[in-house]
């Protein structure tokens, strides 16, 4: 995005050192050391089973790594429970989009509000300020007309947008999206790409796991390629696209 300007050293966002996780005999993450860039759109790609989702789950606290460290902007998050990591500024979506199926669309967003103190906890959910904020995000996703519908009544694509709105409602700095284009029609993929660009321009960092190469290459500033649980290449999309190891491991050329 900064075109001709010389690349200054990017500020690290999420970073891992020696992150390892084995499930029985299968090593899903094999001493993965990666750094993502703050303020950028980062992508994580790799063939199925290369450890991308395990990486996601380890850095968001859903599963505990066997060894290694996870830091976010220099702060150690290793082994923290998911809600602590969320409160440190990381928001995530799930591979098979997860919403709260029997809450209304509006309540799905209100559930992402983090109250403070006893009065905050017992205060009424859906006050004016938070409802307005929720409506703002629903409007940006283009699903504000569905606010009273139950989430399970929404189409797949609408649920994807709802999930993103919920994540945004929790005010993250870094948004981790696990296959945002999975099972989504081309028009909506464009819509999601636009949203990622807009939100990035507004200052949010992204880390996207995605199989849709067009999307990854057009959207991201920094790409990390995983194979067998560790990064085999990282760099800007133009470099990655011509990297022979990547072509061999991933594109099967």
């Amino acid at each position: 995005m900064s075109g001709a300007a010389p690349e200054s050293e990017p500020e690290p966002s999420l970073a891992t050192t020696g992150l390892t996780k084995a499930f029985g005999g299968v090593t899903a993450l094999d001493s993965a050391t990666v750094t993502f860039h703050h303020g950028k759109v980062n992508a994580l790609i790799g063939p199925n089973g290369s450890g991308k989702t395990t990486f996601f789950n380890c850095v968001t606290g859903m599963i505990r790594p066997d060894s290694g460290r996870v830091t976010y902007r220099g702060r150690d998050l290793t082994g923290r429970p998911p809600h602590r990591i969320a409160r440190a500024g990381l928001g995530r979506s799930f591979q098979l989009c997860r919403v709260f199926p029997r809450l209304t669309v509006l309540d799905n967003l209100l559930a992402a509000v983090r109250p403070r103190g006893l009065t905050g906890q017992l205060g009424r959910s859906g006050g004016r300020e938070e409802t307005e904020r929720a409506r703002y995000w629903l409007t940006r996703m283009g699903i504000e007309h569905l606010e009273h519908a139950e989430a399970r009544q929404l189409s797949w694509g609408q649920q994807k947008l709802l999930e993103l709105a919920g994540v945004l409602m929790s005010e993250p700095e870094l948004i981790l999206l696990d296959e945002p284009a999975g099972g989504v029609n081309p028009a909506l993929i464009d819509r999601i790409c636009d949203l990622v660009r807009e939100l990035n321009a507004e200052g949010r960092t992204f880390l996207i796991v995605e199989h849709n190469m067009d999307m990854v290459m057009s959207l991201s500033d920094h790409v990390v390629v995983f194979d067998r649980g560790r990064p085999i290449a990282q760099g800007p999309p133009s470099v990655i696209q011509s990297d022979e190891r990547v072509l061999g491991a991933y594109l099967g050329v």
Partner: protein
């Protein structure tokens, strides 16, 4: 907006009528027997409303909630008889003890979800049954524990009337607390746990603490109901106090009325409590009242999986359907149109990349 305030007035009206009926019931009852049936039903209503703090908000189904009622009952009884506390001080002290006990119990039990949690909750009540049966020197074992009446010298019918209102007051407090949580941010977090616990946690909700807090609240109200029962009934037997059946009744009543609804467990208690009482009167000391309970459970699960209140609301909604269309009827073209409208009004931050 009009239909919103309409339903609010309707709700308020129904509530006022229900309160008036509940308050005047003892004076309309033909004999003290009817009042005892009323007390039994109110006791069930408090128990299932208490159960619904955990079951309704978080979706964790506890079949062992009878344990907390039993502990509340025995705690009250023992504090009156052995520690010679005044009856109502004993009631609240016992509830406080149960609340304290519910912290480690919940800490262990709430680590597992789904069927495992159900089994852990059953284990709790069975273990306590063995303890209270075997520890006869303290609890009286199978011979039972006699709890002296809190109002000596009061006529039997007056005793029943008093306890009817005490149970009614306890029910009102339990419902009020449920209502406060239901509309709070804490409650929204609990409902998110019910829907998808991992997702809720990934959004920043401290799910374990939330579950533990509401578990303790639930156990405390259950213990208060058990303790009040001990003071009213005056005779405790471990077999009935620590019975899986009492936990199962709480679940059945809450499911029947609807666990997502404030009045669901109360309505369920009215139906099931009355049915149980009817079966006991008609068929005497046979286990036929259990058959009645089983049949009710079958009917609910088959025809009204969400309970009576949601089923009735849906039925009403079908009659008063207005011109409003379902969301499925918004076409893709309309959606795009709306989106484009938004895009133009939105501060769209176009970037000149690529």
């Amino acid at each position: 907006m009009r239909s919103g305030s309409d339903t609010r007035w309707l709700r308020l009206g129904v509530l006022l009528v229900a309160v008036a009926l509940a308050l005047s019931f003892p004076s309309m009852a033909p004999s003290p027997y009817e009042i005892t049936v009323g007390i039994a039903i109110l006791n069930y209503a408090v128990l299932s409303t208490s159960w619904n703090f955990v079951g309704g908000f978080t979706g964790y189904i506890s079949l062992g909630h009878g344990a907390f009622a039993g502990l509340g009952a025995y705690g009250t009884g023992l504090l009156v008889t052995k520690a010679e506390l005044p009856p109502f001080a004993a009631l609240f002290a016992a509830a406080a003890v149960v609340a304290a006990l519910a912290v480690p119990v919940g800490y262990a039990a709430l680590r597992v979800r789904g069927a495992s949690f159900v089994i852990v909750s059953i284990a709790l009540v069975l273990i306590l049954l063995l303890v209270f049966q075997s520890w006869a020197s303290l609890t009286g074992g199978s011979r039972g524990l006699v709890v002296p009446r809190p109002f000596p010298g009061m006529l039997r019918s007056e005793h029943h009337r008093t306890f009817y209102f005490l149970f009614l007051a306890l029910l009102a407090v339990a419902l009020l607390v449920w209502w406060v949580i239901d509309r709070s941010r804490f409650g929204m977090g609990l409902k998110a746990i019910r829907e998808d616990e991992d997702k809720a946690q990934s959004l920043g909700t401290p799910t374990f603490t939330y579950k533990l807090v509401v578990f303790v609240v639930s156990a405390t109200f259950t213990a208060l109901a058990g303790g009040l029962y001990a003071l009213w009934f005056g005779d405790l037997d471990p077999v009935f106090q620590f019975s899986i059946l009492s936990g199962a009744y709480m679940v059945l009543m809450a499911l029947l009325g609807g666990v997502r609804n404030l009045y669901g467990p109360l309505l369920g208690a009215l139906v099931v409590g009355y049915a149980l009482e009817y079966a006991k009167v008609e068929f005497g000391d046979t286990p036929l009242h259990l058959v009645v309970a089983g049949l009710l459970l079958g009917v609910v699960v088959t025809f009204m999986p969400d309970g009576v209140i949601p089923a009735a609301t849906a039925l009403l909604g079908r009659f008063r359907r207005t011109g409003e269309t379902s969301i499925r009827e918004v076409t893709a073209a309309e959606l795009r149109e709306r989106r484009e409208e938004n895009d133009t009004t939105e501060v769209s931050s176009e970037r000149s990349s690529t």
